[in-house]
Symmetry: none
Subunit: 123 residues, 4 copies
DNA sequence: GTGGTCTAGACCACC
DNA sequence: GTGGTCTAGACCACG
């Protein structure tokens, strides 16, 4: 498992881990019932505290992305892919709504926004 | 000055104030050299501590979006309008980048994104 | 806030705290938007670690029993009382199902079970 | 011997085995002095470690519910039937006490509880 | 004063 | 080896 952490970022480390693992699950890099790195192993790997990795895993478990078997490890939960994508869509919609709200306030046109999206998709 | 604060939000109060004032400046509701509400008056109005409003104003002044005249009050600094717009653009770009990043990961097409943007612009 | 902890119990301390606070909310001892003790205060009061109280509060917040405002404290969330009681009912149903399942296995009659319930209600 | 294990359950595997065997003893499926499956055989059957089945058997033997004859195997100890029944009764009573306690807190009536019991007995 | 985050280090049960 | 729980102690942002 390769995760790039940004210590300077405002988003806490455990959330960065969550986001990365979620992405790998949704993107298909991690498949159902596949074992995840142990919290201790990942902590050592990332040179952070065990508590921080555990916190990330706890959060992911609560959200249904993985399940944990004490004494065995954590595994990717086979989630309803449709529901998963629906959740993602909502998240994306939120980002876009924010962007559009700011744009409207500042008098930026729809065209400019679409331009930004296009460039972002390509880049 | 009408500002709607959300106590439960994760974004701190003083930032909510900053954001709202910036929005009003960039949107033209607040014009150059126009006086802003006094720190104390705003605090009373919003039923929050003076410390908090002061912190918001300090932040805005530090960023050059308002200037304070001792004994007179605070005023909109029009001269940094360009920088404000630029800041907003970066912010918007960030939101869009996030949206596109998530979309790419989950295999959501460019078309769907543009659809979301369109709906958001209209709604 | 008075909570009696049982160190010998198998149920972890943080869960004992959760259960007690839930009970007080459902029972009406704690009312909507009422402030809860600070995590630090409660920890000192119960002579346990701050981390343990925080964990309990985190869990309760996730389940929607309270909301937390950083820098201000935690407050009882006004929950849909009907939904709350429905949740409780499910929980109770689970306990009863377990009891009945065991009873059936051991050839204990329905009458005996109802007898136990009656005695428990009175006692 | 047919035992359904739940890997994801919080109750450890060895306890799940203990509970099932106790159920079969108390329910009459396993009779006095009847031979139990061998530790190794059961482990193979359930696809778990021998250590785990051994632990379950050790626990049951310690509690007096089976006895082991070196080189022959393990057998149901009929003489502790009364204690087993008593243990079960306490367990059942505990579940009911929990249910009633929760019911009282949330103002659920005795009638509703008895209704739940009746339904559970029938279903 | 409040909570949010991260740390190191310990003990336990389970496999 | 694994996770589950609890501990003490630190730094930060916010009001």
């Amino acid at each position: 498992m390769h995760i790039l952490l940004d210590n300077r970022s405002n988003t806490p480390i455990y959330r960065q881990i969550c986001a990365e693992i979620k992405s790998q699950i949704i993107g298909g890099t991690l498949r159902g019932d596949e074992p995840l790195p142990s919290i201790r192993g990942l902590a050592k790997d990332l040179r952070i505290s065990v508590i921080t990795t555990k916190r990330a895993y706890d959060e992911l478990e609560r959200e249904g992305f993985l399940y944990t078997v004490a004494g065995k490890g954590s595994f990717v939960a086979v989630k309803n892919m449709a529901r998963l994508r629906e959740e993602r869509r909502k998240e994306i919609e939120g980002h876009i709504r924010n962007a559009v709200k700011l744009a409207k306030e500042s008098g930026i046109s729809a065209g400019e926004i679409e331009e930004l999206v296009k460039r972002s998709m390509e880049g």
